[in-house]
Amino acid sequence: MVGIGPIPRRNCPEELIMREELKELYQYRELLYMFTYRDIKVRYKQSIMGLLWAVLMPALIVSAGVVVRYGYAFASGKPLNVGDVASVAVKSVPWAFLVSSIRFACNSLVTNQNLVTKVYFPKEIFPIGAVMASLFDMVVASGAVTVFLLVEQTGWSVELAWVPLLLAILVFQTLGIGMIVSAASLFFRDVKYIVEVLLTFGIFFTPVLYDVQMLGDKGKWLLLNPVAPVLEGFSSCIVRHQPPDLPWLAYSVAFGFTSLFAGFIFFKHLEPAFAESI
């Protein structure tokens, strides 16, 4: 039995409040699990549709990548090699994860209006649950990519040890952004459309279909997009067997923590007004 504890927040310092909030979130972990389970279950209820859902988006990204890479190869006169396709495949999965989790997180509060206005629990469970459910999709899609990489004989190296770290950074970034957009779209319903547009065109500013090196020196600017170093990191340690670009990765880590922290504070700051503003 978790229930709701007393209401202690009065005149206590900011970090104490945050500790309380995190403690409460931990107490409600079962609910987070249930929401994640619910989302996955509902999505995979018709199992074929569910699997397609997880694999379709990365598959589309890979085919778009093949087109882009082919165009690039044609223009530069270099042959298109299989490694390029592998690189797109490896990056398509985390990108699909980012897009779907932000999209779901963005709508998570509005679609669960009933619960937001009727029952008390830490509401960040909704965006976090949305990210977790998308994470499950990513696991399914990663399975497909692994098969592809095995068939293609990309091989493996110690650099694979970077993968969990890269994944953690990506999840942190996504959680932070997810919490911000979910709270914002509760107050302003058109935030959803802005997010949609950003996600649609984001792929042009993120090295998913292409690699940063393909753009020469100016390509470095694209790494300012905090997702870019993470995606490049995936491709470099899985496909090219090289460690990621550390200074840029540090930048991503910093962004990941900042966004998670800022997102949480932003969300918790607005949370008391949710029920009456929705």
Binding site: M1, V2, G3, I4, G5, P6, I7, R10, E30, L31, Y33, M34, F35, R38, K41, V42, K45, N114, L115, T117, K118, V119, Y120, F121, F187, F188, R189, D190, V191, I194, P272, A273, A275, E276, S277
Partner: protein, 428 residues
Amino acid sequence: MSDIAVRADHIYKKFRKGEIYNSLRDLIPTLTGRLFRQQELSRRDDRDFWALQDLCFEVKRGEAFGLIGENGAGKSTALKILSRIMRPSKGEMVVNGRLSALIEVTAGFHPDLTGRENIFLHGAILGMGRREVQSKLEQIIDFSGIEEFIDTPVKRYSTGMFARLGFSVAAHVDPEVLIVDEVLSVGDYLFQAKCVERMKEVIRKGSTVLFVSHNLKNISEFCDRCLMLEKGRTVAMGPAQEVVSAYLQRPRKYLTEEGATAEVAITKAKIRGEDGQSGRFKSGDTVWFDLEVTARVPCSKLTLSPWMTNEANDIVFETTTERLGYGSFSLEAGEVYSCTFEMRLNVTNGLYHLSALIYRHDTQTVYDEWTAVATIYVSSDDDVRGTAHCFPKVIHQEIRPASGPSFITTDADAAGQLTELPGTRGRL
């Protein structure tokens, strides 16, 4: 641990009336517009609406506390503040102990999941762990009475089944402080009785219960103390029975207000009992319904009709002066007709609304109508259900062997059980 389970300390809650900007597209033009039109800022204050003003109460551990009031009085706002869904604009709400709210029992259901999965989901929403739900699963399914369909997606459920499952989960939460907002009105009559039983059990176990309902019967049955809200202000607080009576006797706005201009208008309608009481009666009590009619223009063939409806708005009783054999009457302009109906309340316990109608009986022209002019609460010492109280008594019961071959079964056990029936059951 203090003795107080819930304390509301001068709670105020403000809402903003009128337009709320819920899209950036609307907000941005308004903000820029506001730069040029300063007066809009000063006008903002009249749009404030106080849903609660200076709400103060304390609920002791183990007490059942009721909140009553008309729609919009602020009951639900108070509960939402209590359950931390909303934050008060001013003041403080203190809850000692784990709290659980049964506000809308099916809020957490997902239509695509099966009944069983929804039990776990809903349980988690209400604050139960998976293990706890697992241990109570049998009980919950049993209580809901829909074990047959428990592995069917709830989107195929009927509304009643849906609500029953929701309440069953909610009823098995064991918090220290329980908030109940209008959830007992689900399912059929039998299921409701089961819910009421369960609520009593929760109260007996020593949980503190805060109860909001329009069902005054439930309130006066469950609650020790009660608070009455009117437009966000506390108007009465005290023993539940007294506050419920006060609530029933409060001045009302009548549904039809054209009485002031009608040719013949009802100008007084009042119910009184033997001791002059006007809100609470016992089954079988005699009551007097005083009515007065004033004519503005001369009218003839007038008939006055009193009637009584129950909570479901079904008419339980209706008559007219004419049908009772007193004939019709005529009034000159400025004349007043007054009349008192003596009636016996042969009804079971519950809430009843009294209404009156003045009309011309040959043309059936209705001049004036006062609906639910008085609401009374009738209680009964006997556990009888239904509408009419027939004051039953068991004056004879016996058990004897069945006669005739068709009643005698060849199965010796069944025949044995038949004779073993306890006499008090009176099944024969």
